[in-house]
């Protein structure tokens, strides 16, 4: 992929990601591989709606060096680690999507998925060990958790979704959100007993009952 094409791909993905409700503001980041040694990524801390394609930062996979005055996302190391370990991956989205983040906060793996989810994600989506944002520990743990799947959750943080191209990475992110929602709802049904229709209100009423009984 040419540098201009990669920048344009990431720029377009920013708008799509916000529209899809998978990130808000600057929480999350997106990258596309240019060649075996470089990728472009969203800049650190900037609001997606204000960005242009030229703002996307070119980063070297080997040492995370970059040119220009605009700093790349602080999670550049996470993207680089995934590109290093999984040569078939050409696009990565790091989301703070609501349901996958909830599963990640309980540090559970998603298993027992519906076939329409597992066909895309694999039979398991793991939650990586906790690491502080932007650290090598988080990057290594997340890349490890991605083995055998297109997605991994990051403990107490969010998720990372990988694809052969940006289109696939988006499909993975959307599917992960559905799978995570289903995982939470099944757990709620198991805990609360059958017969309760899963709505936000039913969940909140049951939660308040649990709190009151303690």
């Amino acid at each position: 992929m040419t540098l201009d094409k990669a920048r344009e791909t990431v720029h377009r993905a920013c708008a799509e990601l916000v529209k899809a409700g998978l990130v808000a503001r600057t929480w999350g980041n997106i990258s596309a591989k240019v060649d075996d040694s470089t990728f472009v990524i969203t800049p650190s801390g900037r609001r997606y709606e204000e960005l242009t394609a030229a703002d996307m930062v070119l980063v070297k996979i080997s040492d995370l060096s970059y040119g220009g005055s605009v700093k790349p996302s602080s999670e550049k190391g996470l993207h680089a680690e995934i590109y290093r370990q999984y040569p078939e991956v050409n696009a990565i989205i790091h989301t703070h999507q609501m349901n996958a983040s909830t599963v990640a906060a309980a540090r559970k793996d998603i298993t027992g998925m519906d076939p329409r989810h597992s066909a895309i994600l694999g039979s398991i989506v793991r939650t990586a060990e906790y690491g502080l944002p932007g650290t090598g520990k988080l990057a290594r743990a997340t890349a490890f958790a991605l083995k055998g799947s297109k997605a991994a959750m990051m403990a107490n943080h969010g998720a990372v979704c990988a694809g052969r191209d940006m289109k696939e990475a988006f499909i993975v992110a959307g599917t992960l959100e559905d799978a995570a929602r289903s995982f939470i709802e099944k757990a709620f049904i198991r805990m609360s007993g059958s017969g309760i229709k899963v709505t936000e209100k039913a969940m909140h009423d049951y939660y308040l009952k649990l709190v009151a009984e303690r």
Binding site: A24, R25, T26, W27, P43, S44, G45, R46, R47, E50, S69, V70, K71, S74, H96, M98, S101, T102, V103, A104, A105, A106, R107, K108, Y130, L132, P133, A155, N156, H157, G158, F183, I184, A187, F188, M191, S192, E200, M203, H204, Y207, L208, L210, V211
Partner: protein
């Protein structure tokens, strides 16, 4: 900023908060500070039909009202927070459902997600709350906000604050997600808390560095 422009921007933000369910037509309130003046939404008036004349103007030091009618029941709470926290430029009393349920549970919300620690603080405390708002409630809320960007109001939602209405909006969004996570992880065997030292470290790094990147990183 001229008052007319401030009122127009304020109404636009009130509609955003309303459309995203952070406030309803009958509950919740929004305010911002322009110099010594506080702009605040009136009681039981839907933001969808709010006009510039409806926006209430209050003198923060003296408490007198110079424009509008029917101040909300929590008006004195907004004023007390502005008087205590000089860097606060906007306050939202949100009644969003996840935040409301957490306020009804009355439990301190610990950050189960990094962004709650960064943007709201290492804990979200629960302050006393009922209407009419008295001096004891104001003191409890002001105390609850110490080194935090939000506080739960017992049984009444939460008060979120920021340097402006955009920042307060970010606080509302992150608190909503944090509360939702706090509630729903109960069905997954419970959320795993982040180490308290690390939550403090993340909050510090966010305040010193990351929160300024949108302007600095160009």
């Amino acid at each position: 900023m001229k008052l007319d422009q401030a009122r127009a921007e304020f109404i636009s933000w009130a509609r955003t908060y309303y459309n995203e369910n952070f406030i309803s037509g009958s509950e919740g309130s929004i305010s911002c500070r322009i110099g010594d003046t506080m702009l605040i939404t009136p009681r039981r008036k839907s933001p969808a039909t709010l006009t510039p004349e409806d926006v209430i103007l209050i003198d923060i030091p003296g408490g007198s009202m110079s424009s509008g009618a029917n101040p909300p029941a929590d008006m004195s709470l907004h004023r007390a927070v502005y008087r205590k926290y000089k860097e606060t430029g906007a306050i939202v009393h949100t009644v969003e459902p996840n935040t409301m349920t957490s306020s009804m549970a009355g439990k301190t919300v610990y950050p189960l997600l990094d962004d709650l620690a960064q943007i709201v603080g290492p804990t979200t405390r629960v302050a006393r709350y009922s209407e009419p708002v008295d001096a004891g409630i104001r003191a409890s809320v002001v105390r609850g906000l110490k080194k935090r960007s939000a506080v739960l109001l017992s049984g009444g939602g939460a008060l979120c604050m920021g340097a402006n209405l955009d920042e307060a909006h970010a606080v509302c969004q992150v608190l909503m997600k944090g509360c939702k996570c706090f509630i729903e992880t109960e069905f997954l065997g419970g959320g795993i808390r982040i180490n308290p030292v690390e939550t403090r470290l993340m909050r510090l790094v966010y305040l010193i560095k990351y929160s300024k990147q949108n302007v600095k990183n160009r």
